[in-house]
């Protein structure tokens, strides 16, 4: 290289650096929003059918609106897209009457109709949508389960040919043929060896179902379809799906303004479900035109809620702007709102205290005791319960199958001390599995902390002072502070009962599969109710419930849960649930530990914010008193 290059090098380096600096400091500053809040982790999606979390819920509830919306204080249904509904005499048919002035945010302001709801709910159920909340409908709507999981022989079906434009996109559909399912020819079900992994088994099952041959009678002619004819017989017609005819599903638009839902059995909490975001409508035209994820992009998305998405920056912010086409736009006070994807709760609190944000949920537990004194602290018992699962299939030297031992375990835990001295974020010691505070429900309680009684029970069971019991292992997932709680509880058992306790911490994914396979003695768990009703909790422990995961079976309990599902009288229904919980709290396949508390910090000039058990705070109900805000800012400046 020539010497000139060498002598120019420093200047070149400096020029490069200067250019870099100029680029790095060139910002386009955003005009501030009227209201800014911390929304926790980045939302997975804003498609109502694809998500499960609460940060997602806050955004989707601002963008879309369902049949009803919750009163921010009482959570009772208020009119939204539906004005009212009628229930049939057997409490199984709901007919919703929709308002005529609900509009989509597209250019023409297309009205939101019953057809939008019917289409959106079927979309939620469609097996390829992959919604983890589809169970909300499959549990209670007629034939919803069958639509999702596949028809039986003799059912009217719709065959979707494999001619979609984009094979991964369930909407828009390929050509649909209506017919009647004559037969399904299945090869013998694959058998599994003892060494097959779970994943391997599932894969074999999948390959097996792909080779099913469906014979469907269409317009008087029998035609044969298969999802993968190339593996079976190339002469078969290739299809994408064979699903139950949608007319059979209990979801129907009677006309533009009447939406009818038929339920399997009376479901008193059904109207509450309609307030929940998975059941919000999405606009068919928009979804079909742009596909996923195109339709949720800021330039395409069409919404029917109080807000529209102005823009979205990953891991940064979503800017919401008031939707002028919203039917109740006159009562929506906040014009522009920013949702910040702040992951660290400490950072969220810093930004709140410094005044950059007006609302932050879930401040770090370590400072809750200090924050509790402030008047901008909102704390409320939540529908989330922390409990320990006991593997009741453990026996002999780990006699967890013995109910006396389980009762002793429960009575030896000083839950009050755990909450007051260790957790210190306002958690409440729990004696029932259903958290307190559900309207009209009296939880059944297990016994209180009582060391003497616990020791006595253990002796009665034949293990005085814990003699004859091998070391019991507590399993927990490694995130958060579950380890310290586990050690506290293990310590209680060691000191009070003389048990030997060991601990095992597993990473989330491994932990879940271990619990599922009953590969534990005792495991930490948590559960959040999906709707304000005991069913969402007690349903878990029916004998063959997927989430039971304790090995506990009780036919009496199953019968009561089933009876509660059929019961139409609300009070009697609650009593049945109570009776079921009495069994659960007596047998204790799970030990309730504490119920969580929801904490929000909200600036005093923000109005319309109420603490409630489901932690729902619709943006459309909030408003800001500007003079109060100015006074507040002035005061904090002086300080």
């Amino acid at each position: 290289m020539p010497a000139t290059g060498r002598s120019l090098f420093p200047y070149f380096a400096i020029a490069l650096l200067a250019a870099g600096l100029a680029w790095a400091t060139s910002f386009s500053t955003l005009p501030p929003a009227d209201f800014t809040f911390v929304n926790g982790t980045e939302v997975e999606s804003v498609d109502p059918a694809r998500v499960t979390g609460s940060p997602e819920g806050r955004i989707i509830t601002a963008l879309f609106e369902g049949l009803y919306r919750p009163d921010p204080k009482t959570l009772q249904p208020l009119e939204a897209v539906a004005l009212r509904h009628e229930v049939s005499d057997d409490n199984k048919v709901y007919t919703f009457h929709l308002r005529k002035d609900a509009k989509w945010s597209d250019r023409d302001g297309t009205p939101v109709t019953a057809h939008d709801f019917a289409w959106s709910w079927l979309r939620l159920l469609h097996p390829e949508t992959g919604s983890q909340y589809a169970f909300l409908l499959t549990e209670c709507v007629v034939n919803a389960k069958k639509y999702q999981s596949g028809p039986d022989v003799g059912d009217p079906v719709e065959v979707e040919l494999a001619d979609r434009k984009n094979p991964l996109e369930p909407h828009p559909h390929g050509t649909l043929l209506a017919g009647k399912l004559i037969s399904i020819v299945k090869a013998p079900k694959p058998t599994f060896g003892p060494t097959d992994s779970d994943v391997g088994k599932e894969r074999l099952l999948d390959e097996w179902t792909d080779k099913w041959v469906y014979t469907v009678e269409i317009e008087g002619k029998g035609r044969q379809f298969c999802k993968k004819p190339e593996l079976v017989n190339p002469k078969l017609e290739k299809c994408a799906q064979v699903l139950l005819d949608r007319q059979q599903v209990g979801i129907k638009a009677l006309n533009d303004w009447q939406f009818q839902v038929r339920l399997i059995s009376p479901t008193p909490y059904f109207v509450y479900l309609t307030q929940f975001y998975p059941l919000f409508p999405v606009q068919r035209a928009c979804v079909e035109r742009y596909g996923y994820p195109g339709w949720v992009k800021e330039e395409h998305i069409v919404t029917n809620g109080a807000y529209q998405m102005e823009f979205r920056k990953a891991r940064n912010r979503i800017r919401l702007r008031k939707n002028p086409r919203y039917w109740d736009a006159a009562n929506v006070k906040i014009e522009v709102a920013d949702a910040l994807a702040v992951e660290s709760s400490a950072t969220g609190l810093n930004m709140y205290l410094e005044g950059q944000v007006d609302w932050t949920p879930a401040p770090p537990p370590a400072v809750i005791t200090k924050l509790r004194e402030r008047d901008d602290y909102y704390g409320e018992a939540s529908l989330t319960i922390a409990f320990y699962r006991v593997n009741v299939t453990r026996s002999k030297n780990k006699p967890l199958d013995n109910v006396l031992v389980r009762r002793a375990l429960n009575m030896a835990i000083d839950k009050q001390a755990l909450c007051d001295n260790l957790l210190r974020a306002g958690q409440k010691p729990a004696r029932s599995f259903v958290p307190p505070g559900l309207d009209g429900y009296e939880p059944a309680l297990c016994r209180e902390y009582d060391v003497k009684k616990a020791q006595q029970l253990l002796s009665e069971a034949g293990y005085p002072g814990g003699r004859g019991i091998d070391s019991v292992e507590i399993l927990y997932n490694s995130s958060g502070d579950h380890g310290t709680s586990a050690e506290f509880i293990g310590d209680c058992w060691r000191k009070n009962l003389g048990l030997k306790v060991s601990y095992r911490s597993l990473e989330w994914g491994t932990y879940l599969s271990t619990v599922d396979k009953l590969g534990y003695d005792i495991s930490r768990s948590g559960w959040t109710g999906d709707y304000p009703d005991p069913n969402t909790f007690l349903n878990l422990f029916v004998s063959h419930g997927e989430q039971n995961q304790t090995g506990w079976k009780n036919p009496q309990y199953d019968k009561l849960i089933e009876a509660a599902g059929r019961e139409t009288d609300p009070q009697r229904r609650m009593r049945i649930f109570h009776d079921a919980e009495v069994i659960l709290m007596d047998e204790l396949p799970i030990i309730p530990i504490y119920s969580y508390v929801i904490v929000n910090m909200v600036k005093p000039y923000v109005h319309g914010f109420y603490a409630n058990a489901q932690d729902v705070h619709p943006l459309r109900d909030l408003w800001i008193d500007q003079t109060e805000r100015e006074k507040y800012l002035e005061r904090s400046k002086r300080r």
Binding site: A13, G130, N350, D516
Partner: protein, 306 residues
């Protein structure tokens, strides 16, 4: 020179392929998957999710389609966790943030490090030298989350001069840039001092002094050029690390950069995003090392590229 570039580029392709393969296998060897969660997913539902992300195919097929998509279409596919985004979009949104933060921090680190290192070398064994090197040692030792925490307490709450967090205005940049730059500045100061001391004892410097050149001319025109060589070789990996984002700083100061994306992708088993970021990091690291080698040649005539 040309043959050097060609050879290096060829090696980069090989390296990228090895990194791709190793990351692909390692990610899938870890238990758990992107769809594990407490509430169990229906078999149909899980299966369709897997189909969407092609996780239902045998491993070798996944590997092959992944490789082909990445190479041919430069498309890393959709993210499995931020479902509305593709990996390319996530990188396109996050990289400018991490990069501007990195450039600012690096410039600050260079300015502070070079000056203080040079001054320390010239005042060797005196109070100034000891003080500067003492601070530098502390700067290397102190973890940046601690530094960030302390500076937030001081400059946000005790003296409310700066915003606590966020991205979008110059004031919001001050704390993260300083916190990110501190350890680099400290390291550069130490390297400069060592390099400077080494060079100042060389014959050509004595010649310059004998010629009667002014001391500042000797230092700036003759000594510094040789003294920065260790700094230049440190800059290669440093630039790659700093440009691809810092988890701690981005987390604490709520910056939408790549550091946060990287860690959450790894923890949540978002395979495509993690893969994309590993590849980006490899490319930047490789290119920076190449640039360092070339600038060595420019700075020091004794070095030959081979």
């Amino acid at each position: 020179m040309i043959s050097f570039l060609v050879r290096r580029t060829a090696w980069m392709v090989v390296t990228l392929w090895i990194v791709f393969t190793a990351s692909f296998l390692l990610m899938r060897a870890v238990p758990g998957g992107p769809f594990s969660q407490e509430r169990k997913v229906d078999r149909d539902v899980r299966r369709n999710l897997e189909k969407r992300y092609k996780l239902d195919q045998p491993l070798y097929r996944q590997y092959w389609t992944n490789l082909v998509d990445t190479v041919r279409y430069r498309d890393l596919g959709p993210s499995m966790k931020l479902k509305d985004y593709t990996v390319n979009e996530i990188i396109a949104q996050g990289f400018p943030v991490s990069a501007s933060l990195g450039i600012l921090a690096l410039s600050l680190a260079l300015a502070v490090g070079l000056t203080s290192g040079t001054v320390a070398a010239l005042r060797r064994q005196r109070l100034l030298d000891v003080t500067v090197m003492g601070i530098a040692t502390v700067g290397i030792a102190v973890p940046n989350f601690w530094l960030a925490g302390v500076s937030i307490v001081l400059f946000v709450f005790v003296w409310p001069l700066l915003p606590a967090a966020g991205w979008g205005s110059p004031a919001q940049l001050v704390l993260p840039v300083v916190c990110l730059a501190a350890p680099y500045a400290a390291y550069i100061a130490r390297l400069t001092r060592t390099g400077m001391l080494d060079v100042l004892s060389q014959d050509y410097i004595r010649t310059a002094q004998a010629k009667g050149l002014a001391p500042h001319r000797i230092v700036i025109h003759h000594a510094l050029r040789g003294a920065v060589l260790p700094v230049v070789s440190f800059l290669g990996p440093a630039v790659a690390a700093i440009l691809t984002g810092s988890l701690v700083i981005e987390q604490i100061f709520f910056l939408p950069g790549l550091g946060r994306a990287f860690i959450s992708a790894a923890l949540q088993r978002d395979y495509p995003v993690a893969m994309g970021l590993v590849l980006i990091y490899t490319i930047i690291l490789y290119v920076m090392n190449m640039v360092v080698d070339i600038s060595y040649r420019v700075l020091d005539p004794r070095v030959k590229l081979s």
